[in-house]
Symmetry: C2
């Protein structure tokens, strides 16, 4: 056997769409697992309709989330399709789905159905609010789970409505949580022979982000009610977002960093000054502290020169880069934090790199994303032993579907 | 062998502190792996000094992040300590560390050192900006990586400095990424016999959150420059944060949800009205759309009644719960999204639940977090075969350290 990557030899039947589920199965695909993306025809994954920025019918969103997967597209309304999917379950180690709770059961493909086909299947359901509980049936989006989780309540000014971060904080992290759960279940299967059902919810994964807010509220028996506090930390000072010449930076000058910051500021006398020496006294006059630091930052001609001076004194700091700035940043390119992939239809595009960087296998930027139904024949022939004639008949009758993008 | 949980039988030597690394090893510990938390004496993990909300010396932060781990505390300045740690490496499957790059090498415990002791060791380094690249040596905190990643730039109003979400978005997600990488490497070891070095960085994991911003900027060759856009989505409408009576809610009324929202609003005529019918025309007058919806929301006596009406029409929506509200919410308690654990010193406290919910093992809320050095004797006796006399001598000479909290 050719040992190509960490998860070579594992086969995943992937019913997922959009972001959370596809992130999970992409982690597997990028680690060399064989991931068969099952798409409901005629349209397939709904993200195939968006992000067509290259003047043709190719979705860049689809590319980013589906590298190295195979696509099989079937008309889910036809019983022959479900029969084929059940045959595929028998050939797979893992099933992943992120439909609204109950949909897979209606299709006859719930965990119990799949377990009856393959006793040791590892089956992972991903949802917004979970498979159980009073909120489970609500229509779920990333920001719905985020709002319930208390995360949204911690972003913005105390006395104003909060902000939503405009990216996939919940979906991506949930996909990675699911990938860990599945890998752990596969290690368990190897030891015990047992399969597993996993119920992974955005709500639970968002809640997992709470570093100190939950135990602080509970530990103080509600005396401390965690909430948002603007652009600066509420329990140490200085730390947060500071205005500089041409934009903003993040700067941390609390605890032992205060002395380094004072040196950078040319104000060594403030290290021991009782009016400035501790986080507590600085917190009591946070506006004055921030104002002094921002006045100093404004003396630099730009952000880079201010950062260089802070770096020289060992003060933790960072420019707040725009997404555009990251695309050409040498550190991002050298590490593969951002990578360029070549798509057959869309050409070269940049997407986030695979964040799991192992020593045995180099980063693979040659992965490609599938066209809709591109692997119908390969999968049905290779895994299910269907003949050319059978596959042609399934295509003619509309069970198998495909498209040129 | 008693098969207690998914990862029973795996042994992890855990050099991590604070949040990202401890999240990774806690995922293993909560799945039944034996995690030996190695702490540098005399203080141990620096979070033992904070979050003492129960009137004694116990850190709630430490509890939350270190359930079901064993603590061994050594004076890292003594060569005997390093010799003992090298003996422990030989007995473990996994080593995890989140020091600043280079620290483990100075201790003589870099990957190459550990590989020489145990050829197939899986070794994971977690850092803010990575082990390589021009930024690797910078002091790293969660928000430093976040600012570089472009994530911060997407939160807040377009023409104002952005906001930092005040929780562990980067650390927690990075810990879970690392846990997946380690589990994948263990599956690989089982298949090939090979070990692995993993370089997991907050920067890469933060960048992984970019759902569409990177490929949109790259795909349009810079014509679209993704940035923050306040409380509402910039490419569909309505979707975002809306003011309601007594607070704010998240509401989604784009695409096919528009018809449901119009029904809820009692404005069915707007479904087909060319001035309102599409996301494009609504985006062009987003203030008017938001104003109409907020005026309607204000007619309800409170948020719950507005949410109930929206739920009745199938409109995706959520109250923006405070952290305090989540602690008593029936859905959170039923699912174990929030859980109560009992600590020997701190008593009952609530913390986020384990987000990996599997069918074979019930949620375990009986896990406890270790006192500093609590397992010195157990680990040195059980794994290294040290005698009572040897352990007493190591304690007397200050190699082994401990504390009562």
């Amino acid at each position: 056997m050719i040992q190509q990557h960490l998860l070579t030899g594992i086969r995943v039947l992937d019913f997922t769409r959009v972001l959370a589920g596809p992130t999970c199965t992409r982690m597997f695909a990028e680690c060399g697992a064989e991931v068969i993306k099952v798409e409901s025809g005629p349209d397939g994954d709904m993200v195939r309709k968006i992000s067509k920025f290259r003047g043709n019918d190719r979705s860049l969103y689809l590319i980013q989330q589906n590298l190295n997967k195979k696509s099989v597209c079937l008309d889910f309304r036809k019983p022959e399709s479900i029969a084929l999917l059940r045959e595929l379950v028998a050939q797979c180690d893992v099933v992943v789905e992120n439909f609204r709770p109950g949909v897979m059961a209606k299709l006859g493909l719930a965990y119990a159905d799949c377990k009856a086909i393959k006793e040791d299947i590892v089956y992972c359901s991903i949802s917004a609010l979970g498979q159980s509980g009073e909120l489970a049936a609500k229509p779920g989006y990333d920001f719905i789970a985020q709002a319930y989780s208390g995360v949204t309540s911690l972003i913005g000014e105390r006395d104003e409505p909060p902000y939503l971060p405009l990216l996939g904080l919940g979906d991506v992290s949930t996909g990675v949580h699911a990938a860990f759960g599945i890998a752990a279940a596969l290690l368990h299967r190897a030891r015990t022979g047992l399969g597993q059902y996993l119920d992974i919810a955005l709500l639970d994964c968002y809640y997992h982000y709470h570093e100190a807010a939950v135990h602080t509220c509970s530990g103080t028996r509600g005396a401390v009610k965690p909430t948002r506090s603007g652009r600066h930390f509420s329990y140490v000072c200085p730390a947060g977002v500071f205005r500089a010449n041409g934009g903003s930076i993040v700067l941390i000058g609390f605890l032992h960093h205060w002395a380094d910051l004072c040196a950078a500021l040319g104000r060594p006398e403030l290290v021991a000054d009782p009016g400035w020496a501790t986080d507590q006294v600085r917190l009591a006059k946070v506006d004055e502290v921030v104002g002094m630091i921002e006045a100093w930052l404004m003396k630099f001609p730009d952000i880079d020169s201010a950062i260089a001076t802070l770096d020289g004194h060992g003060v933790p700091c960072a420019p707040i880069l725009s997404v555009e700035q990251t695309l050409t940043h040498p550190h991002f390119i050298e590490r593969g934090t951002v990578r360029t992939v070549h798509d057959r239809l869309a050409g070269d595009i940049q997407i986030p790199g695979m964040p799991i960087k192992g020593s045995t296998y180099p980063a693979n930027n040659d992965y490609v994303a599938p066209l809709l139904g591109e692997h119908n024949a390969e999968v049905l022939s290779g895994l299910l032993g269907k003949s050319e004639g059978e596959i042609a008949a399934l295509t003619a009758s509309g069970v198998l579907m495909s498209a040129a993008s």
